[in-house]
Symmetry: C2
């Protein structure tokens, strides 16, 4: 371990000390963190890689937004299972010449979001790397048996989404077009928020039969539910809630909105909003068909076509 | 998500299905894995980054050894806390042109070690990357309160190590010198094993006051124990157990042996071997001194010098 790495760890440890929780018995400073999960709970674990020029670009994204966006991916995975976050861990590979100010801003963005959701940074690892790489791990929990899976959707279930779709991809499209976009704190692209509160409400009311977060886009993520539940789906173009600046393509295939998509029995009563998030019925689940696509989409005049997965392509693949 | 990534995940999911455990309720296939930890236990969490040309080189290390070495880092961290591993997670960034055969061999190396220690691969993430990056997360547990920390060493405690030191660094030195080294299955450099069994024995006998694994080398890792325990240490040159091919420098500063270093009260009785690992007394703990180094080393003729941390430098820093 080189001196720079020791200093970096000491600095991160100091910054992380603001985040504490009763579940975190030992954080940074041992070979492992020690966590005491709530009695009778089941653990949720998710990891998400963020790699420079794949998941973000330094000239497009402020360091603070990159740190925020790294953590939101993990928190949103916990929301997708209807869980509560317990702690996060960060493995960080950094170019030797990266300015310390960049790292500080990155950590501030990450830790501000962590503090908002009371998730202590409990450990991780550091290394040199040619390009920035950040792997975020979030540990969470639910009461035993209460996690919502992708595999529970049944024919007849309705399909809902929270919030509006395509907003993050619309900003990305502008960035690709060479437009300068200000990274406003309210931006769903630069500072998206995980739908943890809405997920908790849904879990407590035992409403969702299956759930996923929209990180890759409806066409990919609803496809995952169809595959794991062995069902098909029909959605209605006219019902898709679109963000300002988004079009149908971006709303269906754009990723990184971090809204929730869930299914629920036809008789379930859903309010128009949950924890501030608008709830929209977008379609229903059907039995699996041999041949044909997993998802059909109905146009405004009733014509049906297959919606193929063409979701979130990371930057270099676009 | 591109097609190649979907295929890769499907392939890894298939390969990972051989590893199951009662604690793993849901593995790959949801936004999070679901784990039910043993009742009354505390969780251990560790993450370790492995980056191409920092932690390994493709022309030096067979893919199978790289996969093995990734996982051993996490398992060894669990051993250092005297814990039992529960599950592992892998975040994997891969160059688009990397041959599938390389990835398969990497996964075989990782999964063979995972199977040996009954640790299922429960999830992770994938991405494209310019160079190979693998972040391994291992989740483990101990009975509540039984984890061994770095901070428990007290003046008067004796310092012990398992096995022999410097063997991994000796091979690395040969690789740097341009020598061709065969990656034998028995090699402590290419296929090191975590000291999980010895750690369990020590925990059950309540022997260690502090413990760490020798991933960075004695001079760095014993330094961590001194810092966290607020003590100093004296070790004896003549007592350092050296691997064949290693010298004192490599034994004191070479990393990646994945042996355990632990402290125990002077009255504790240690057998010559634990679970097949030779146990060697190498020194003792003293109270902290202001000024002077944290570790003193005594030569064969009794002369004393300060042992400064100069441990494992990753490849590009050597």
């Amino acid at each position: 371990m080189v001196l720079a790495e020791r200093k970096l760890i000491a600095r991160i440890r100091h910054m992380a000390e603001t985040g504490r929780s009763t579940a975190l018995l030992r954080g940074i400073g041992n070979d492992c963190a020690i966590i005491s999960p709530p009695r009778g709970s089941e653990l949720l674990v998710t990891t998400d890689l963020c790699i420079e020029d794949v998941h973000f670009r330094r000239r497009w994204h402020p360091a603070r937004s990159i740190g925020h966006r790294c953590l939101v991916r993990g928190l949103s995975d916990i929301a997708a299972m209807a869980g509560e976050p317990l702690a996060c861990f960060l493995s960080l590979g950094l170019p030797a010449k990266l300015p310390q100010a960049w790292v500080d801003e990155f950590m501030r963005g990450l830790l501000r979001l962590a503090t908002k959701f009371k998730v202590p940074l409990a450990g991780g690892d550091t290394s040199t790397a040619d390009k920035i790489v950040a792997d975020i791990l979030v540990l969470g929990y639910t009461p035993a048996g209460a996690a919502v899976l992708r595999s529970g959707a049944r024919p007849g279930d309705r399909i809902y989404v929270t919030g509006e779709l395509g907003g993050s991809a619309a900003v990305l499209k502008q960035l690709y077009a060479g437009k300068k976009v200000t990274a406003a704190r309210s931006s769903r692209h630069f500072y998206p928020l995980p739908r943890l509160q809405a997920a908790r409400w849904l879990r407590e009311k035992k409403i969702p039969s299956a759930m996923i977060d929209l990180s890759d886009g409806v066409s990919v993520d609803l496809g995952h539910i169809c595959e794991e539940s062995k069902v098909s789906a029909a959605i209605y173009e006219a019902n898709i809630p679109m963000s300002r600046g988004a079009d149908l393509q971006l709303a269906l295939h754009g990723g990184e909105d971090y809204e929730l998509l869930f299914t629920a029995p036809a008789l379930a009563k859903l309010p128009p909003k949950i924890a501030g998030a608008p709830i929209t019925l977008i379609g229903e689940i059907h039995s699996a068909r041999s041949g044909g696509g997993l998802i059909h989409i109905f146009g405004e005049s009733g014509q049906r076509r297959v919606l193929r997965p063409a979701g979130w392509q990371h930057f270099r693949q676009i």
